[in-house]
Amino acid sequence: MALELYLDLFSQPCRSVYIFAKKNNIPFEFKTVSLMNGDQCGCEFQKINLIKKVPALRDGDFRLAESIAILLYLADKFKTPDFWYPADLQQRARVNEYLSWQHSAMRLHGCRIFWLRVLIPKGLGMEVPQDKLDAALEDLNNSLKLIEEKFIEDRPFIAGDNISLADLVAIVEIMQPVGAGLDVFDGRPKLSAWRDRVRAAIGTELFDEVHQNVLGAKDNVKLMDATTMAIFKPKIKLFM
């Protein structure tokens, strides 16, 4: 049985897994999960992944959730080039440091901005208080500042001279606010230069193809139907 990856490219962690698998020619079966259609709540998917989240991996009898765990598993199993997750302990630690920090920082703040600017007003038709938007933007700016000043600093990439999983996970999360209509690269030359290097290292075609959906989000997300709203509404409390 082929390796199965359960993905929705609307979701940042799915994008990092997809890019990594494609870039490294890892053979897999793409199992589409449409978050907007509520596929993640279906019985079939729950057999794969009890937390009802994407991305999810199935490799024979082995099932795995959490994009970070999936990326590390794929890097090891398919013996991808060392720079993605270096064997050198200190470089690896730098990658792990970013992958750990980002959960409650960049990922959280990028997600929140996307919900507050796109999913809640356009998808759910609800108003978002300005003070919530302002606070979310401040958090996002703080995360971006830390990425520039601490994680990239004066290096070409987060772990040094080469792209790694840290840059991959970072870029897909940073693209989410861009999809929400915020040009986070404007006025941030260091971040822009890093973005260009990451995009080139991944391959511009693959990078652009994967981000098509989310970049169209602010214009394409329409008012959800009642069933979809019922799935998304309970999550509002996470972001407002």
Binding site: A65, A69, A93, N96, H103
Partner: protein
């Protein structure tokens, strides 16, 4: 031969700091603990800020190599030093289980257990106001959901969260779940399976558990005495 200089900057009232303290304690890795008292603002001194601009603990310095983030630190220590493999297994599927938990931990166990502690201890302490009961009820409910998942997705019928042996995942989880003890709250009171897991973790790490939690117990007992 120059001695390795491994230093860890910790505040034992911080959950991730205790996890590292326990790992170092039960693996006998030679190290020096530098205490950083968050309540005294020792994380905001110019020296500490130079070490870690994010002004957070834990921080590890291994012969000049500075590292933050508890799971990154523990995975580094488990690999760099000669520790039993079970802490962070080499076998890919077993390792993936640990990586899966340490990722999930950041958005589940950590924030939801910490929030209970924040609302019951930290916020009232810092503001002098009474506990916001409405928020606390919601936080406890959120924690219950997380504990349901911890049991159903990770522990299941295994001795430890990621399999037959204790791993760094168990240390991270148990230290978070001990934090609400500061207000005398045992979040596992109604959960016999997780209580048994906690006992197994304590047995596996021995004295290191109590040494790491001594400060927390002292704070808990002082607070209880005041009531």
């Amino acid at each position: 031969m120059a001695a390795r200089l491994l230093e860890v900057y910790l505040d034992l009232l911080s959950q991730p700091c205790r996890a590292i303290h326990i790992l170092l304690g039960c693996t006998n890795i030679p190290h020096t603990v530098r205490t950083v008292a968050l309540r005294k603002g020792e994380n905001r001194t110019p020296e500490f800020t130079k070490l870690n601009p994010m002004q957070k603990v834990p921080v590890m310095v291994d012969n000049g190599f500075v590292l933050t983030e508890s799971d990154a630190i523990m995975k580094y220590l488990a690999t760099r030093y000669d520790v039993p493999q079970h802490w962070y297994p080499r076998q890919p599927e077993r390792r993936a289980r640990v990586d899966e938990y340490t990722a999930w931990h950041h958005t589940n166990t950590r924030p939801h257990a910490a929030r209970v502690f924040l609302l019951e201890v930290l916020v009232p302490q810092q503001t002098g106001s009474p506990v916001d009961e409405g928020r606390l009820v919601r936080a406890l409910s959120q924690l219950e959901e997380t504990l349901d998942r911890l049991e159903a997705m990770f522990l299941r019928r295994q001795p430890f969260l990621c399999g037959d042996d204790i791993t760094v995942a168990d240390l991270l989880a148990v230290c978070e779940l001990m934090q609400p003890e500061m207000s005398g709250r045992d979040v596992l009171q109604q959960r016999p399976a997780l209580q048994r897991w906690r006992s197994r973790v304590q047995a596996a790490v021995g004295e290191a558990f109590h040494r790491a939690h001594a400060v927390l117990y002292a704070v808990r007992d002082r607070r209880a005495a005041k009531l």
